[in-house]
């Protein structure tokens, strides 16, 4: 009888798999990724034969079936919660913590890339005579330890920041120290690896004081709040987790800034610093509202700045701090380590000369500091 029920259930799901409409190529709103395309659609017989011989066809079919299995999201969540409530939480790619907070897996503090990345930054800074700050942002495992679950692996973000500090004469802010002094405040998102706007503001203030500049007053901002599910949520399958609140800080001064994305004839110019189209209900990636998401080069101009230009080398962490920097500086030249590899773009040293840059701020998540980031472009 059990066998019959089991076979009937499998058979029913298989019928649904073939009968239900597919969302091939569409963005799944929970996982924020494109679902697999139909492996046979719009392909000629010869292309299909080539794929069959190369073994690609079976992989494509597998991916398609995986992505379009009926009630897929439900089964993903069932599995995710089951693993976490049966003692395997600490070993998952995303760890479920207290107070609705999610954590990434620990990073490797012995990674060879720490030294490689810092050496490259030191060389660039030295060659161009730049006063430099390297802000390595530790994860919430270092800055919101009170939310770690009772059983968890050891985290080494503090060691990673210390390793960076040891290898450079540049100023390396103690972000964990700053954030831990304000424990309980909303400085890191709970479902995402990024800091909040408030967290970015704390580090901005510290960097401005280091450079002898007056930071803008926080009281001058109006705060708008939007429901937001971050990168950890998408990876974890823990669909019952409460959303974060993405904060968009606005002010007349921010509205007067001009944002230029791209270089040369490809430059697109915008008013202000927010792509408000990304904040609409139903849009999954609201973080993309900051500075029109991630681009190889972004230049923010402030007609009422301090007359100086700063270079900001960043991964995704720079997008929320750059607008704040642009309220102090006349120009922020922001370059992204991951995309700055086109020959159409000027060398970073050419940008230093062109804009008379004297100060360099590098903002990286701890996960980037230990990774093979595309720092080769920094020359």
């Amino acid at each position: 009888m059990t066998v019959i029920i089991f076979m009937a259930a499998l058979g029913f799901l298989s019928v649904l798999l073939f009968a239900l409409p597919k969302r091939a190529g569409e963005l799944d709103p929970l996982e924020f990724r494109a679902l697999a395309n139909d492996p046979f659609r719009d392909k000629s017989a010869s292309t299909l034969m080539t794929e069959l011989v190369r073994g690609d066809m079976s992989k494509n079919v597998d991916k398609f079936l995986e992505d379009h299995y009926p009630a897929r999201s439900f089964f993903i969540a069932l599995n995710s919660y089951y693993l976490r409530f049966t003692g395997r939480n600490a070993d998952q790619a995303v760890v479920m913590g207290r107070n609705g907070r999610l954590f990434d897996k620990p990073l490797d503090p012995t990674s060879v890339y720490i030294e490689k990345n810092v050496s490259k930054i030191n060389a660039f800074s030295g060659d161009n005579g730049l006063k430099t700050v390297i802000a390595v942002v530790p994860s919430a495992a270092e800055t919101a330890k009170e939310d770690l679950p009772a059983v968890h692996l050891n985290y080494f973000d503090g060691d990673i920041v210390a390793a960076v500090r040891e290898k450079t004469d540049a100023y390396v802010p103690d972000i964990a120290g700053m954030f831990n002094k304000r424990a309980g405040e909303y400085l890191m998102y709970r479902t995402d690896h990024h800091w909040t706007m408030a967290g970015a503001y704390e580090v901005y203030t510290d960097i401005m004081e280091h450079f002898g500049e007056e930071p803008v007053n926080r009281d001058g901002f109006k705060v708008e709040s939007y429901e937001f599910y971050g990168s950890y949520y998408r990876k974890a399958g823990l669909w019952l987790t409460k959303p974060d609140a993405l904060e968009v800080w606005t002010s007349p001064e921010l509205d007067r800034l001009t944002t230029k994305i791209g270089w040369g004839e490809r430059t697109a110019t915008y008013s202000g610093v927010y792509d408000r189209g990304q904040l609409k209900d139903g849009n999954v990636d609201k973080y993309a509202a900051y500075l029109w998401s991630n681009n190889a080069i972004t230049v923010i101009e402030n007609p009422e700045g301090n007359g100086k230009t700063v270079m900001l080398v960043k991964d995704s962490f720079g997008n929320s701090i750059a607008p704040l920097l642009a309220l102090t500086y006349s120009r922020v030249v922001m370059i992204d380590t991951r995309y700055y590899n086109s020959p159409d773009l000027p060398l970073p040293s050419e940008l230093v000369t062109e804009f008379g840059i004297e100060e360099l701020i590098v903002v990286l998540g701890a996960d980037s500091a230990v990774s093979d980031i595309m720092i080769a472009f920094l020359r």
Partner: protein
């Protein structure tokens, strides 16, 4: 009757083995000679890209640095490393064509190019998921000592073009 059937079966098996050995002894088709720098330009001209500004990294040593390919693995012609790298500042589209030093080097070059794609997949998964499919279906081909990686706006058509030309 039984004896006849047995004889027929033996003859057929012997014929099958003879064909199998003949296939083993068959000569491989010789690999065509290519100019990979020109080939990369052909791919740019004949395949479809979302970025109309895909540009060549003319500094070939820098191209090796970006792809993390050891210079010794790449063939040299008149002092010019045989690697062509076209990249985009806006999308994960690229063309990388390499003439490796030999077939063994070609395998190592392909490993490095696969790592380039994996790196892009990791970044674009977070911030540009609509582009990840292009990377997942990237055209990766090795023929003798020639290695090709192409991430285009229509990888199916690109694969057809590259397979016919390579």
């Amino acid at each position: 009757m039984k004896k006849t059937l047995r004889s027929i079966a033996v003859i057929m098996l012997a014929a099958l083995m003879a064909f199998a050995f003949a296939a083993c002894g068959e000569k491989k088709n010789p690999v065509k000679e290519h100019d990979m720098i020109a080939f990369a330009k052909d791919i740019l001209t004949n395949c479809s890209f979302q970025d109309e500004f895909l540009a060549e990294i003319e500094d070939r040593n820098f191209a090796l640095t970006l792809t993390k390919i050891d210079a010794d693995l790449v063939a040299d012609k008149d002092g010019v490393k045989q690697i062509a790298y076209y990249s985009s500042a806006a999308y994960p589209e690229m063309i990388i064509c390499v003439e490796a030093a030999d077939e063994a080097a070609a395998e190592k070059v392909m490993e490095k190019l696969s790592a380039v794609v994996e790196r892009y997949i990791k970044d674009y998964t977070e911030y540009g998921p609509d582009q990840v499919e292009k990377l997942n279906t990237a055209v990766k081909r090795t023929s003798g000592r020639y290695v090709v990686l192409a991430v285009t706006n229509d990888n199916t058509a690109a694969a057809k073009y590259i397979d016919s030309a390579l």
